[in-house]
């Protein structure tokens, strides 16, 4: 356990209690900073608010980030910050490919790997959200006013896809 003070309140926290607090939750859109917990990116303020029950106005992103890194979680800054407002279609979708070289398929593959068996919404190489059902993914997109490039379930077995086309 690590004792820390947030907004004048003392908390005994460890990584397990943080992971437990996130059960059943979906990460909100990443604006700039994120922490990695259970293989997913989370906004630091969302995490600390869930863990402590505090209002997000009671602490800053940097305080949340510092508290979570003290517990051993990796923190980083997103390469291309996303706005909170809906992303225009022209900005949301990748530019057309130059023959055979555009995009890095392996990047999306690695981004999807933690979500095998889940429904995902992706935009370019970014996984916007992953959830057990398409309904939850669609609800998340609507709630956070995000537009995906594509939605699908990350296959959890070979037969899930090989019945439709030659391997």
């Amino acid at each position: 356990m690590t004792i820390m003070t947030v907004s004048g309140h003392r908390y005994d926290l460890d990584s397990r209690s943080v992971e437990a607090a996130l059960q059943g939750q979906l990460p909100e859109p990443i604006h700039e900073h994120f922490v990695v917990i259970n293989g997913r990116r989370w906004p630091p303020k969302q995490v600390l608010a869930l863990v402590t029950g505090l209002d997000r106005a009671d602490f800053t992103t940097h305080q949340a980030r510092r508290a979570l890194t003290r517990l051993g979680f990796t923190a980083a800054r997103a390469a291309s910050p996303r706005g909170h407002h809906p992303v225009p279609l022209s900005a949301a979708l990748p530019q057309p490919a130059v023959s055979g070289t555009a995009g890095r398929p392996e990047s999306l593959v690695e981004a999807l790997r933690p979500f095998v068996g889940l429904w995902v919404a992706v935009r370019g190489e970014e996984v916007l959200v992953a959830a057990p059902s398409a309904k939850e993914v669609v609800a998340w997109l609507a709630q956070h006013r995000q537009r995906a490039q594509s939605m699908f379930r990350v296959p959890d077995s070979g037969p899930a896809i090989t019945g439709a086309a030659p391997q």
Binding site: L89, S90, L93, P94, Q95, P96, A97, S99, G100, T101, A102, G103, P105, E106, L108, V109, E110, L112, R113, V116, A121, S133, A134, K135, V137, V138, L141, A142, Q146, R147, A148, Q149, S150, M151, F152, R153, V154, P155, D156, S157, G158, P159, A160, I161, T162, G163, A164, A165, Q167
Partner: protein, 137 residues
């Protein structure tokens, strides 16, 4: 419009062979286009039935058919819906018959002859890993 072949992680590690897919938005689900495998051998365009209620598509009383896919017996319900494909600069919508299937074993939809290929000139460049589609007006 150009769509890159998409690779997915293999359950046992590594990556599956990139496949030709098109992201097709159902009317009512514009923010979540469904990945559909381009299936030149399929007569129908098919998707999971769980998408229909999310898009507000009513399937009660719809024409149904039983068929096997991927070794699984399933039932498809027919609905005529508006579909949209888009890239960074262009968007194209058309009305098409789509069969919403339950159960649906695949993690994507299938874009077949009816519903998709009838509406586009499709050029597949598997060597370079992309496909181009041009609406046939």
């Amino acid at each position: 419009m150009r769509f890159e072949f998409r690779a997915l992680p293999a359950a046992g590690g590594g990556a599956l062979t990139p496949r030709p897919v098109v992201d097709i938005a159902l009317e009512g689900l514009a923010d979540a286009p469904m990945e559909c495998l381009l299936d030149t051998g399929a007569l129908r365009t098919r998707m999971s039935a769980e998408l229909a209620p999310l898009a507000g598509i009513e399937l009660s009383g719809a024409l149904t058919e039983e068929f096997y896919i991927g070794g699984l017996k399933t039932v498809g319900a027919l609905a005529r819906v508006n579909l949209t494909v888009a890239d960074s600069t262009n968007e194209f919508s058309w009305d098409a018959p789509v069969w919403f299937c339950d159960p649906w074993p695949h993690p994507f939809g299938l874009a077949g002859l009816e519903g998709f290929l009838h509406h586009f000139l499709v050029t597949i460049c598997a060597y370079d890993g992309y496909l181009d589609i041009e609406p046939q007006l």
